[in-house]
């Protein structure tokens, strides 16, 4: 089922949590709402679910092209997985998962045998068969999260909404669970939206990433698009490390830090002051000049423990920047702190203005 959000705003007191937000999620997609805390991502999720009311008269939420403004939470057919799971603490795992089926109206309520079968199937799906009799306080965080998911899936929701599904878990369990969630989605194909502040999570799991900041959507795109073609400075900054320069755009060239480079493909028509961004892995290092425009810099520190070698540099113009090079290349170069090197940005992105 598709989700359409049209011109939704939400204010808490004087704080604008959502500012005229519109978004379309196609049926069967897995979408990530990504942003820092306070960006409005959880508020948007809760408004879609009906747990929060949008500002009166601000817009509408359509599920499968149907306006659900007047639909009660319990009638929206939305499965919601809470950040802290919100399992019923006085019920066993079995009772938790069965809850949605047992509260159905008598006419629609399935038989006991059916419920039993369905709950056990779901527990098998989330790899928790055998723990049906446990109580929430006897489970680990990852297990609780999977119970919450099974419970939400039991009522066969048309949309699955997950609020920071892995937020409260430790790093290793987190990684396992997120690739498991992706596989589960490929199996079930249920339209899903999850909220996260972790860009790795969003980029790895989602079909579409919605980057949010200060109650607005900055960019919507595939993980590749938002990562390689960030539409705004915010997206550039939020998705990974970046080196920032101040410069000027003049006749198809951008000048910054004693460099003049051809203007890269960019949608904005920029003249005058500009900000130039370079990802660390797009900064190449040479020990000699080779005729190409480059900045002379001094090596400050080298971190070689990791898949890439991080080199911190100080340019002649007294600006710090970071470069990431492969271990192989590092091995051929013999650089150490205080070495003089020549630095060249391989790929830059330019945004207008002096300050972000």
């Amino acid at each position: 089922m598709s989700i359409e959000v049209r011109n939704i705003s939400k204010t808490f007191g004087s704080f604008k949590a959502l500012d005229n937000v519109s978004l379309t999620v196609k049926a069967g997609e897995l979408v990530a709402l990504l942003g820092p805390s306070g960006s409005g991502k959880t508020t948007l999720l809760r408004i879609i679910a009906g747990l929060e009311q949008a500002d009166p008269g601000s817009g509408e939420i359509l599920l499968n092209d149907e306006d659900v403004a007047d639909r009660h939470v319990s009638a929206r057919g939305v499965g919601f997985v809470f950040q802290h799971y919100a399992l019923f603490r006085h019920m066993s795992v079995f009772e938790n998962v069965a809850f949605g089926l047992r509260v159905k109206r008598r006419r629609e309520r399935p038989s006991k045998a059916f419920i039993r079968q369905k709950v056990h199937d779901l527990l098998k799906l989330v790899q928790l068969d055998g723990l049906a009799g446990r109580y929430p306080h006897q489970l680990s965080g990852g297990q609780r999260q999977r119970v919450a998911l099974a419970r939400a899936l039991a009522v066969e929701p048309r949309v699955l909404l997950l609020d920071e599904p892995f937020g409260a878990l430790d790093a290793k369990v987190r990684k396992e669970l997120r690739s498991w969630l992706r596989r589960l989605h490929d199996e079930l194909h249920i339209t899903s939206v999850f909220v996260t502040h972790d860009q790795d999570e969003a980029l790895e799991v989602a079909d579409q990433v919605v980057v949010m900041n200060r109650g607005k959507i900055e960019q919507v795109g595939t993980p590749d698009e938002v990562f390689h073609q960030p539409a705004t400075e915010f997206v550039m900054h939020f998705l990974g490390d970046v080196n920032t320069f101040h410069g000027r755009v003049n006749q198809g060239m951008v000048q910054f830090s004693e460099l003049e480079l051809p203007f890269p493909e960019n949608r904005q028509q920029i003249v005058g002051d500009a900000r130039v961004f370079v990802r660390p892995y797009d900064v190449t290092i040479d020990t000699k000049t080779n005729g190409l425009p480059a900045l002379e810099a001094k090596v400050v520190r080298v971190h070689s423990a990791g898949p890439l070698v991080r080199v911190e540099l100080l340019t002649k113009a007294n600006q710090y920047l970071t470069s990431e090079i492969s271990q192989e290349r590092f091995a051929t170069m013999n650089i150490r702190p205080e070495s003089t090197v020549y630095v060249r940005p391989r790929h830059i992105r330019v945004f207008a203005g002096r300050e972000g």
Binding site: F82, R89, G133, Y135, R151, V155
Partner: protein
């Protein structure tokens, strides 16, 4: 809060002082002696005294004290009052706690203060308040007389005064508990398709059960034992508007010491009984929990 404290201590492992952090033997002995002495002097001794005084003139006299018409009437009135006040205040208390813990609204802090009012106002003043309101010369007095409704110096007055005095117990017990638990489980129930009533019955109520039972027990104990407010509105009509505490006073003032202590022992017995009931309910619940877990576990292995 007492209810949740009781639950917490059950989970926490028993505290054993170890040499490096414990106090010296002397300090420990002195502190424990003081605690035990206080406990004996103010809690155990009065209870023992009540029963010894009551039984001073033998079992025959003891039971005779309950069979007089006045005593029977007092016992009946006390039970009726509790039977009406406790359920009503349970409903009010749950509703008030729910409103305060779950919703933000204007005047919330005023409501919280108002709930505490019966605790802060002296019961005698609470009684007087109802006399001024409903008495023959009170604000509503003439109207009530016209319609031949008696509140003051009658059973309705006693029930109203008891309702007032016992109002805060359930709400006070539940508000911090419900605030600490938050509303996420209830919201989860709603997203799973449960109605408001199903959510309350299946999620809210089981979660607040212990706090609620504790609040009810306190309400009941106070409803049966209230003296001040009831004394003002009752008029002390023997055989009609005397509750047990009032009857005890009357007997005592008539120099029927052992009879008064006999009735007092019944009240004390009821108090002890409520505590026993509380322990039994707690124990049963813990057992049923464990059993359900065991059964489900066995079901899985089949």
């Amino acid at each position: 809060m007492a209810g949740s404290i009781a639950l917490r201590t059950k989970r926490a492992s028993a505290y054993r002082p170890i040499a490096s952090t414990g106090e010296s033997l002397l300090t420990r002995t002195i502190l424990i002696t003081i605690a035990l002495a206080t406990l004996a002097l103010f809690l155990v001794l009065p209870l023992v005294l009540i029963f010894t005084e009551a039984l001073k003139q033998g079992l025959g006299a003891y039971f005779a004290a309950f069979t007089t018409p006045d005593a029977r009437s007092a016992i009946r009135l006390t039970l009726i009052t509790a039977l009406i006040a406790v359920p009503l205040n349970t409903v009010f208390g749950v509703a008030a706690a729910w409103a305060i813990a779950r919703f933000e609204f204007k005047g919330k802090s005023i409501l919280i203060t108002l709930i505490d009012l019966p605790f802060t106002v002296s019961p005698v003043i609470a009684g007087l308040l109802f006399v001024i309101l409903f008495g023959t010369r009170g604000w509503l007095g003439p109207w009530l007389q016209e319609h031949d409704i008696r509140i003051i110096f009658a059973v309705p007055g006693i029930i109203i005064a008891t309702l007032f005095v016992t109002f805060p117990f359930v709400a006070r017990e539940l508000i911090p508990l419900m605030q600490a638990q938050g509303s996420e489980e209830e919201l989860a129930a709603l997203t799973l398709g449960a109605s408001g009533f199903q959510t309350f019955w299946r999620v809210t109520l089981p979660n607040i059960k212990w706090g609620l039972i504790y609040g009810i027990i306190l309400t009941n104990a106070r409803a049966m034992g209230e003296f001040g407010a009831v004394s003002v509105v009752s008029g002390h009509i023997r055989g009609q508007t005397n509750t047990m505490p009032l009857h005890i006073e009357v007997l005592y003032n008539d120099y029927q010491t052992s009879a008064s202590f006999a009735v007092a022992s019944l009240l004390a017995f009821l108090a002890v009984l409520t505590l026993v009931v509380k322990s039994i309910v707690e124990w049963k619940n813990a057992r049923s929990h464990a059993q359900a877990a065991r059964e489900a576990e066995q079901g899985d292995h089949q």
